[in-house]
């Protein structure tokens, strides 16, 4: 007994000291505090968003429950109980159509050229930097550009006589130019993220640059490209400033064409963000509800677009693995 005691005491002492070492320090106050700061930042953001959405939806809801059909098919009127946003929907639809038809293919093609074909020289770096700068130019500047080029210089192309160049075609072209740098940047980044080993694998079996780009790079980059496209579309849908400059109608608009009526392209127009600003600034309090309802419609369109984007992205990402 006497002989074993010192050893067991010694080992127990050693045990205690390890336990002490492992348990020292106590609560990590700084870490907990930091975590709380992060959490409250997230909470605050969510709260602001939720308040906004709740506010808009609760304000616009009566319009949807009492006269949904009339609101969706009605035109810009002076009396709130008769007004609707049909003209705005049609105008925004065509603006988005121009963006999809022009900015998407042009932007993707430019991005693929920059990433896959262009050599790394001073000129191409200059181009790259300036596309980034263009994406940061305030949208109203694009409005001035659109006004100068599409409304005035190209009036005979974009407009019938009575519209004076202030047409949905001018607006669509202007917004296509506005989102073009955004499309190029997001598509470039998606293409750049394609691992080089994939390109080498393609070249290694004797594929040409075009074949590698078409069959390997673009499918791999597709999810990223699609995400960028949808973001650009949402941007085009929400822009109001450039539309004011190319003459979106904010008061009464005599024409109310259907969605697929092509003659409206060279005629006067309005768009959803303009409808919202028009109604919001109207002193008649009855228009506040309409403005809120129009915002809800815009939100719904963006949510649907994002959902489609996520579904498409998931589909392509599944193909990757």
């Amino acid at each position: 007994m006497a002989l074993t005691t010192p050893a067991s005491v010694g080992s127990r002492a050693a045990e205690r000291s390890v336990a002490d070492q492992l348990k020292k320090g106590g609560t990590d106050w700084a870490g907990t505090g930091f975590r709380l700061v992060l959490l409250s930042a997230l909470g605050l953001s969510m709260l602001i968003l939720a308040t906004l959405i709740f506010n808009v939806v609760s304000m616009g809801l009566p319009v949807f429950t009492s006269r949904f059909g009339g609101f969706m098919s009605g035109t810009l009127r002076t009396r709130p109980e008769e007004a609707g946003l049909h003209q705005g929907l049609v105008g925004s639809f065509w603006i988005c159509a121009f963006v999809v038809a022009l900015a998407f293919p042009l932007g993707i093609a430019a991005a693929v050229y920059l990433e896959e074909y262009a050599v790394d020289n001073r000129f191409n770096r200059f181009v790259n930097v300036n596309i980034r700068n263009l994406a940061g130019v305030p949208s109203v500047v694009y409005g001035i550009l659109g006004f100068t080029i599409f409304t005035k210089a190209l009036r005979s192309l974009t407009s019938t006589g009575r519209a004076n160049g202030l047409t949905v075609m001018s607006a669509g072209l202007t917004l296509a130019v506005l989102v073009l740098p955004i499309v190029i940047i997001t598509a470039s980044e998606a293409v750049r993220a394609v691992p080089n080993s994939l390109r080498e694998a393609g070249y290694g079996v004797g594929a040409t640059r075009w074949e590698v780009t078409r069959t390997q790079v673009l499918p791999y980059a597709a999810p990223g490209i699609i995400t960028g496209l949808i973001l650009s579309l949402a941007r085009a849908l929400g822009e109001a400033a450039p539309l004011i400059l190319v003459g979106a109608v904010s008061g009464r608009l005599a024409t109310d064409p259907s969605f697929l009526d092509l003659s409206q392209l060279r005629d006067k127009f309005t768009a959803l963000p303009i409808v919202v600003t028009t109604w919001t600034t109207n002193p008649n309090p009855g228009f506040d509800q309409l403005a809120a309802a129009a915002i809800v419609v815009m939100l719904a369109i963006v949510i649907v677009a994002n959902t489609i984007a996520i579904l498409l992205r998931n589909r392509y990402e599944k193909k990757r693995s």
Binding site: S197, G202, G204, V205, G206, S321
Partner: protein
């Protein structure tokens, strides 16, 4: 004449051999030269990555490139199928001839070169597509005639993968294990029916069992393909190759950069048993590298 003793590890018989290394093939004729590299230097911008490489690659032989990191083994390998073209700053000096044709001649189409000279990379890099599509990709873009199913099956059989994947050809190539992925890449490379296979450290990302499978596979297919393999693993070079080229690096005193160079190239037996250069011996015996 013990003409049938072509194996690389039979030390006892080697002493009695009086033939030169080049005439060791069973039929005792000089092997056909596939690549002839003369005074090759490769630059990345102003930096000379490797200099003065002179080497011949013989048909139906496995040639191993060994040497310490940064000695330019991979850089030289990538000259054989013009893969260095993909690096903008890369520039080649000297000559690489393939069956007498200067590979860097202006009239030579690198795409045609790569169809004849397949490549297997360091990290398995199957396409994110099905196993079938991975193998069929090369033949399809090359416009190869014949039944595609047969072409795919033949390539997968040659790569020793057929029995493991025949029931799931439509499954993604990314779902295979690392070793299987690398054999899929070998199948993909041989599906276009190339003459040469370039292998850039094909086993460096694999475990020993998968490595052994690849090495066995190389022995099986060397009767049909000329193989050049870059390896960090000296034992692997000794096991699989007929000839070995040893590269090393030298420090450029004025710029604190390293340039690779070829020290010597000989039969693997000679390199490992009786190297001609002291640097080779030091490397082989583990004194540096």
């Amino acid at each position: 004449m013990p003409a049938d003793t072509n194996t690389t590890e039979s030390d006892t018989v080697d002493d009695s051999l009086e033939v030169t290394p080049d005439t060791q093939l069973p039929n005792a004729t000089a092997p056909e030269v596939v690549f002839d590299v003369a005074d090759l230097s490769v630059y990345y911008g102003a930096f000379r990555a490797v200099r003065d490489v002179n080497v011949e690659i013989n048909k139906y032989e496995i040639t191993a490139f060994i040497g310490p990191s940064g000695c330019g083994k991979t850089t030289v390998l990538r000259c054989f199928n013009r893969m260095n073209d993909l690096i903008e700053s890369a520039r080649v000096e000297g000559k690489v001839t393939y069956h007498g044709v200067d590979l860097y001649d202006r009239a030579v189409n690198p795409v045609e070169v790569r169809r004849r000279i397949g490549m297997v990379f360091q990290k398995p890099n199957p396409f994110p597509k099905s196993i079938y599509e991975n193998v069929a990709y090369g033949p399809k873009i090359a416009g190869m005639k014949g039944n595609m199913d047969d072409i795919v099956e033949r390539a997968l059989r040659a790569a020793g993968l057929w029995d493991e994947v025949k029931s799931r050809l439509k499954a993604s190539g990314m779902g295979l294990s690392g070793g299987q992925q690398q054999r899929l890449c070998i199948a993909r490379a041989i599906a276009t029916d190339p003459e040469v296979l370039l292998m850039d450290e094909p086993c460096s990302a694999l475990d020993p069992i998968a490595t052994a499978r690849i090495e066995d596979l190389m022995q099986e297919i060397k009767s049909k393909y000329t193989i050049v393999i870059v390896t960090h693993n000296m034992q692997q070079a000794a096991r699989v190759s007929d000839r070995t080229a040893f590269f090393t690096t030298e420090v450029n005193p004025e710029s604190d950069t390293r340039t690779g160079l070829l020290v010597e190239c000989d039969t693997t037996d000679m390199i490992f048993s009786n190297p001609g250069d002291e640097r080779t011996e030091n490397y082989i015996t583990g004194r540096f590298g």
